[in-house]
Symmetry: C2
Subunit: 476 residues, 2 copies
């Protein structure tokens, strides 16, 4: 039976000793056991981009008693190209305003990286909050310049955590000099940074990979990405953040377009609870440190280079992997759901349909009960394009719509060109019992000349645990 | 701890003896006890419009074992004006297609009423389903014409219940003649009809009232309304239906505009789970039976009459009361939430903002935990107008936004013109412990020349019980 906890119920942060966060054995994460199905997602090593250093420390921003690090700097040793995508929420955090202004000012040229904190979202704090975010960015920039005077316009700022609270800015300013003295580029430095970004995450989120570019196939470039779990923290707001670094050379305009393009196929294709955070922000930095002197920078002008096209592919896949790590840690979720909408005349229409399905609370609750609930998919599909620019274009035609669930190579159809199909209940049970579930909505099944655009969305189920975590009402 | 029930989990309909549904003591509703806070919502008498008869019977459409009635006719004894508003879902039920076609054919003139069933939604059944719905409408029309030949174009059709199943049309056709022999206009006839429309409802939904029109202030007209609970039935779809009858005289074009206008301020202002059903439909009939022979019909042409304006007000309030009955029976809900958005330059913008807030799963989950979670309101507000026609019009200005919760005459502000306000925790606890909660978002607080448009939305909280009901995963 649900039991009401004392009001107001703040979610407790963990209080275990710092060394637990080292993950040597991946047993405990900030004092909580890491779920068995999450341990495989934590890397034990990585290939990190050259010329970047990373540091983190505990500055007392996360609640007292929590001993996880909560302050992070990720910085290039040399000026780098920078890019960012921001939440469009009109009540955005100070970090979003300050970083957006930095991008406007610099056009992404000559940046060094980002300073981020978890534990305080710095929203609804007015001019004082903006001043705090600015001071945090400037002091961090001064510190990584070895105390040299800096114009303060080289580091972006990120916040995540509880909203409507001022940053403990004195703590932050006090800890930044020490933090910069411990920066480095080892696996532990990166993993600790991922820990520092965490709030309600059940595991730290870090990936890295190497790649090459067509113009320099012998050169090994690296990509590293830090991110954090989505969902809003009861009773305040958390967020999704992403930090991506590469040692490939990319011009600022190309980097911005690459990031935006990859975000549209990754971070913009995930939904946990359908709410858009005030703090969401993904940044990327490219310093070219792994390039030979004659290596041309990846560029978009006067036209997209071959390297640009290749890198867009690499980055999109990389960021999709980062975004999936976020969904895998959705609050209270028991399933990882892939929604594939195909047969659309445009990517945007398919993406919008997938996004509406991903927000169907009824459908996601059904999946929790291991019910494919394909009627719920159709109900969502049936209203997905109402009041959008796609309405009235005949994109959804019931008689051409098929819905199926996929399990590896095998596909089980529930609806075939608008007609319900008898299904093998045993097979369905096998599919629905799995953690990973994929559903396919084909808008033009069985038609000869078929539009081919396809969009993929990743989401999770809606569970009793989600309600417990976000209401503070616990099941006992 | 949540325990998974055997798959697939169909929600059981009740199996108690028929007489329980009579409600003499309001103790049991189809075998389930009526929640104490719902009993006051069931009328013990009513003032029903003249010239209408109502009948219901069990035709075996609800699952076997259920002995509630499941087939209803509401009919005017004489040809009446008819109007309807329909779901826009592209996978609409056969009833919606058939009734929409009837409206197109007749323009709402010469209608008799509606035949409705619960227990089967008749969705995804193709031409056969359309044929069934047509046959149901024609046979019911034939029966209420005392077996006389009828053109079959006088009754609308409504379905609610499980989707993707054929209607048991033989049962329906078999029971219609008997049903029409028992029709009448007593309180019990109307209440039984409300029972018949129910699916997962915890109580039947019926209201009635009298009113007068400016042109005939001595004449007593009546309005009666039947409706049913919202939310989708696991594992299939249920819906909201509404049937409204009046003995005032109204022309068909006026009736359609009145119904649409009132629906926009009632049924279009409620949200349970954010999903749009395939079967939603509200119909209205006006037969003028209470009017004296010289009473002019309420008309819109050549311009809205005084009676039209007065009746619009009466009908809007009446349908708002019907819609609130639906929200009060939201699946698993523990709170009835009113969202009031004011200070908007347009009603539509305020309505859209309220609708987005009403769909914030995080906010509604917080309310379940008795947390005002006003950050959640702001997060929803902050993204509410993105990608809408209202974007970029400066409707949302953080520095002019206030958020408060109201308890009777008293208002507790959480945000005052963009600035968080210290609040009285004891007072907040009092407010949040109540079943009825009202939140006010003022878009232009403290400004001199203030836009005055205001929209109201009614919704509920998101609870463990909602998850249990829609997943089949029960808490033990």
């Amino acid at each position: 039976m649900p039991v009401r906890l004392p009001y107001p119920q703040l979610r407790a942060f963990s209080t275990k000793p710092r060394q637990c966060a080292k993950f040597d054995k991946f047993e405990l994460y900030g004092g909580r056991p890491i779920p068995a199905n999450k341990q495989r997602l934590i890397p034990t090593s990585g290939s990190y981009p050259q010329g970047f250093t990373v540091g983190s420390t505990r500055a007392g921003i996360k609640p007292a008693g929590n001993i996880q690090p909560d302050l992070v700097i990720v910085a290039s040793e040399t000026p780098a190209s920078g890019a960012a995508v921001f939440t469009k929420n009109e009540f955005c955090a100070a970090s979003v305003s300050v970083s957006r202004e930095l991008m406007r000012h610099t056009n992404g040229a000559g940046l060094r990286g980002v300073v981020a904190n978890a534990g305080c979202a710095n929203t609804l704090t007015g001019q004082a909050g903006l001043d705090d975010a600015t001071a945090m960015g400037r002091e961090a920039a001064r510190c990584i310049s070895n105390g040299m005077a800096d114009n303060g316009n080289s580091l972006m700022v990120m916040h995540t955590g509880a909203g409507a609270q001022r940053l403990p800015i004195d703590n932050i300013l006090h800890h930044l000099p020490k933090l910069t003295k411990t920066m480095g580029n080892t696996h532990d430095h990166w993993l600790d940074a991922a820990v520092a970004l965490s709030t309600t995450d059940t595991y730290p989120k870090l990936i890295s990979r190497t790649f090459s570019l067509p113009s320099a196939s012998a050169t090994k470039f690296s990509l590293a990405g830090l991110t954090k779990g989505a969902g809003m923290v009861h009773p305040n707001m958390a967020t999704t953040l992403g930090i991506i670094c590469t040692d490939a050379p990319v011009t600022p305009p190309a980097l911005q377009i690459l990031l935006k393009g990859a975000a549209s196929r990754s971070y913009n294709c995930i939904s946990i609870d359908g709410d858009t955070s005030t703090n969401d922000m993904v940044t990327m930095f490219a310093n070219g440190a792994a390039a030979s002197p004659d290596q041309p920078a990846v560029d978009i002008s006067p036209e997209p280079s071959v390297d640009f096209v290749a890198f867009q592919q690499v980055l999109s896949e990389f960021m999709a992997d980062m975004a999936k790590l976020v969904v895998r840690d959705a609050e209270g979720a028991s399933k990882f759901i892939t929604i594939r909408v195909r047969g659309s005349p445009s990517y945007d229409a398919a993406h919008h349909i997938a996004s509406v399905i991903s927000r169907s609370v009824l459908w996601k609750t059904g999946i929790y009960g291991r019910d494919p609930n394909w009627h719920g998919i159709l109900a969502a599909l049936g209203y997905s394009l109402l009041d959008t620019s796609f309405a009235g274009q005949g994109i959804i035609i019931p008689e051409q719509t098929s819905v199926s669930f996929r399990d590896g190579a095998e596909t089980v159809k529930f609806l075939d060109c608008g007609v319900p199909v008898p299904v093998d209940e045993v097979k369905i049970k096998q599919i629905m019992d799995k953690e990973d579930i994929e559903t396919i909505v084909d808008l033009r099944d069985g038609t000869a000349e078929k539009p081919t655009e396809e969009a993929v969305y990743w989401t999770c189920d809606m569970t009793h645990d989600f309600i417990s975590m976000n209401s503070g009402v616990e099941i006992r």
